[in-house]
Amino acid sequence: MNTEPSRLSYLTNGILRENPTLILMIGLCPTLATTMSARDALGMAAAASFVLICSNVVVSTVRRLVPDSVRIPIFIIIISTFVTIVDYVMKAYQPALYRVLGVFVPLIVVNCIILGRAEAFAYRHGVFDSLLDGLGKAIGFGLVLFLMGSIRELVGAGKFFGTRIMPAAYASSPVQFMVSAPGAFFLIGVLKGLVNKLQSKNR
């Protein structure tokens, strides 16, 4: 049997076909709450990706030792350990970013993407495959976050990574709706609509 294409698909599935946020519609809370700007979105994506990839690797490494009945508590302990590591390290080395992301760093623990991948993939697959799967889902999640953060910052503040891009006349009175909470709901709705439109065309 030819196994190479399927291995690569573990990686690529997460980016488009099984994109966690826009197709599977999980992990929406951080997607909505931490995408006020491109930089915040990337910070959240990096933190969640680290946890996702590490937990996938560790869960798949120990999967044969984990009793079925207590696998969920064990996954949660593994995930929350990595989340707490991110929490400490970000607090110590990226304090400005930590203040923006605030409670959403500890809340990575309950990100459905991470527990979902541990249960649905890493628990049943090898270490390397789980690494690829984690990487793919992390890229998919990160891309959507980055897209949301960039659009919201550009439209809502006229900036990109904190530098003014739009003409001064626009940046002085931008559509501030986009950087507030309703803007996030609006944008995810528009993006999901676009994805549905593309999917129905391909069918």
Partner: protein, 180 residues
């Protein structure tokens, strides 16, 4: 073997043990830096509201009042307040010199937890608005429409009032601590 009763208990125990060990390593490596950063943040805020002071000592157990010293001599007091505004508490830090006059005020921004409406309530952060507090006595710290001398930000009366009233209340509450 993996489904035996003893291993069910033991596996959770081992997981917790390894997790605790990993976290204690990371914690001991980052603790010092996190502490220093929080001290540096407090010092920077204090220096902004009272540039002449060079050292500070806490006066109340909840660390809302600090004595400020310049070359070892008491030169004033730092008072912190957080009155409820429109979206949540509005954290204000103010410097008061020994005559009871405000030397400067600082309001924590959105990244430090300010929940006021973007573009309206957050205008209380602007230096021009905060400047009107400088040189005032506690009795004057009240919105002009409430009988004081502070003009509110247009469209953000509640946020402005939270700053003024919170500060005035704190200054009155700790009046006995303000004079050395």
């Amino acid at each position: 073997m993996t489904n035996s009763r003893i291993w069910t208990v033991l596996s959770l125990f081992v997981t917790c043990l390894l997790s605790a060990f990993a976290l204690s390593v990371v914690y001991s490596q980052t603790r010092q830096r996190i502490y220093q950063l929080s001290i540096a943040g407090i010092r920077a805020a204090f220096a902004e509201v009272m540039p002449t002071a060079d050292s500070f000592a806490v006066l109340t157990p909840d660390s809302s009042v600090w004595a400020a010293f310049e070359g070892g001599r008491r030169c004033g007091t730092i008072v912190r307040a957080a009155e409820r505004g429109y979206g949540g508490p509005v954290p204000v830090t103010a410097g008061v010199d020994t005559t009871g006059t405000i030397t400067g005020i600082r309001i924590a921004g959105p990244v430090e937890g300010l929940k006021e409406t973007q573009g309206l309530g957050t205008k209380v952060l602007e230096p021009e608005w905060r400047a009107q507090f400088v040189g005032k006595s506690p009795a004057e710290i009240l919105l002009d429409r409430d009988g004081g001398t502070i003009s509110a930000v247009t469209g953000a009366t509640i946020s402005s009032r939270a700053v003024a009233n919170g500060l005035r209340d704190a200054l009155e509450r700790y009046a006995s601590l303000l004079r050395p």
